[in-house]
């Protein structure tokens, strides 16, 4: 008769990148059940929207998370712009898309490094992050900050990228694509890495749908879903490639994210080719009066922003539903029946971003 014990995992743990706490009920090294406990990074940012002017709240919104920072700022601005019926100049939209896709690349590269660290391959972790430095340098060149850009504002963007900088972005991305090919071959082809990723944490298509998985988590189980196909911003003018796989294991999730890096690099090249000249912001008067729902595709999946205004300077309600919040039940499902040693890898494959989840 095997005995059940409970192992507390997190919030501080050497391989855990995010402060989530899981009580793992295990039976002889197999996880039977996982009980989550979140709330370690709850900063009450939604409540802060009631006391910060809506034009200044952008700076708070982009600090909800460090990795998805730009998209949070962009989503907040898009939600308020929709309430106020502002239509942005096309150049501002293209600039936002370029920064958003660069954010996606840097987030996936960071995730790959953390995944390699989770199964003990520190050299690969460092290689991914060395490559990521190039993207962070691009951010600093164009926005002034490596992690928090402070470049989105309601009505447009605050800084322009001139033709020289766009050329630099193009050439750096071409180099990144070549070096990334090397890392990709190791992740997808190396026997030891495959041993740690293949057939681990399988989530079938029906389970992914029943648990409401979003983003690469859903796409790697065969569900074709990408919020960018709705055509927000200027995505309807740039051909999108939705990358899916059907196996639903950790290897598939890794492969989907790697392909997304390539797809984002191509998307940025296309955007740089098509970017029009013109203004980068539109002036507005007044305050938001009404409500809106806006959905974006963050690196981790679909994010939803809900803004309610009543005509005063302070918003009535601001709500963010982040993709990790939606992927948490899927995480609890894939942990069941798996061995304890694979738990860090599985937690990482949902790409947790607990700062976003708890705001």
């Amino acid at each position: 008769m095997s005995k059940r014990s409970v192992i507390p995992f997190g919030p501080q743990h050497p391989v855990l990148p995010e402060p989530i706490h899981l009580d793992l009920v295990i039976e002889d090294e197999r996880v039977v059940e996982a009980i989550p406990s979140i709330g370690y990074v709850h900063r009450g940012l939604e409540k802060l929207a009631e006391t910060r002017e809506f034009t200044d709240y952008v700076y708070v919104a982009e600090r909800i998370c460090g990795i998805c920072s730009f998209m949070h700022g962009m989503g907040y601005c898009m939600a308020v712009e929709e309430v106020m019926n502002l239509s942005l100049p096309p150049r501002a939209e293209y600039l936002r898309v370029i920064w958003a896709e660069l954010s996606r690349i840097h987030s996936h590269l960071m995730w790959m490094g953390l995944l390699a660290d989770a199964f003990g391959f520190e050299n690969l972790f460092m290689q991914c992050w060395r490559l990521r430095e190039r993207i962070l340098d691009l951010f600093e060149l164009t926005t002034g900050g490596r992690v928090i850009f402070s470049v989105c504002k309601i009505g447009g963007v605050r800084k322009d990228i001139d033709a020289d900088a766009l050329g630099i972005i193009s050439s750096v991305l071409r180099q990144v694509a070549t070096e990334f090919g090397e890392i990709e071959r190791i992740f997808l082809g190396d026997w030891s890495v495959q041993h740690r990723l293949k057939d681990i944490g399988v989530l079938s298509r029906e389970q992914a749908h029943a648990l409401g998985a979003v983003g690469p988590m859903a796409r790697s189980s065969g569900i074709v879903t990408d919020t960018r196909t709705a055509g927000y911003s200027v995505y309807h003018e740039l051909d999108l490639e939705i990358i899916t796989r059907s196996e639903g294991d950790c290897y598939a999730r890794c492969a989907v994210r790697m392909q997304e890096v390539h797809a984002s690099i191509d998307l940025i090249h296309r955007a740089i080719g098509k970017i029009p000249t013109g203004e980068i912001e539109v002036k507005f008067k007044g305050a938001p009066d009404g409500q809106s729902f806006v959905r974006l595709e963050q690196p981790r999946g679909e994010v939803l922003y809900h803004v309610r205004g009543d005509g005063s300077k302070f918003l009535q309600r601001f709500r963010v539903r982040t993709p990790t919040f939606a992927n948490l039940p899927a995480l609890l499902k894939i942990l069941e029946g798996r061995s304890l040693a694979n738990v860090p890898v599985m937690i990482l494959t949902i790409d947790p971003c607990i700062s976003c989840t708890e705001r």
Partner: protein
């Protein structure tokens, strides 16, 4: 062969210089747009618009004493104050406030 993929990278690692910099002896030159710290000049009229718009509350202005104070470590270098200043007295410089053991408050006043 699985380990051939890594042999090339390993040999490159052995023969090339380190990817990291020996900071603080060697510093990376900042980019032109890097948001380092806020600089003040004496065209300031002490209207306090920057104080109201600062998202972190890092600024303080004393109109009577004619001083402008910034808490260097509360400032997140967002640039909101630079944009709203009616006299363009504030500017974003590209060098960072050096690390310190305590939070420092810098006070600026017009030269006599």
């Amino acid at each position: 062969m699985p380990f051939i993929k890594l042999v090339k990278r390993t040999l490159k690692n052995l023969t090339s210089p380190p990817a990291t910099r020996l900071y603080p002896q060697i510093r990376r030159p900042a980019f032109k747009r890097t948001r380092g710290h806020i600089a003040w000049d004496d065209s300031c009229i002490f209207c306090s618009i920057c104080v109201r718009r600062c998202p972190t509350g890092a600024l303080a202005v004393d109109r009577a004493a004619k001083t402008w104070r910034i808490n260097r470590f509360d400032c997140v270098q967002c640039g909101a104050c630079v944009e709203v200043c009616p006299k363009h007295s504030l500017a974003m410089r590209n060098d960072y406030t050096p690390p310190a053991a305590e939070k420092t408050v810098d006070e600026e006043a017009p030269h006599a």
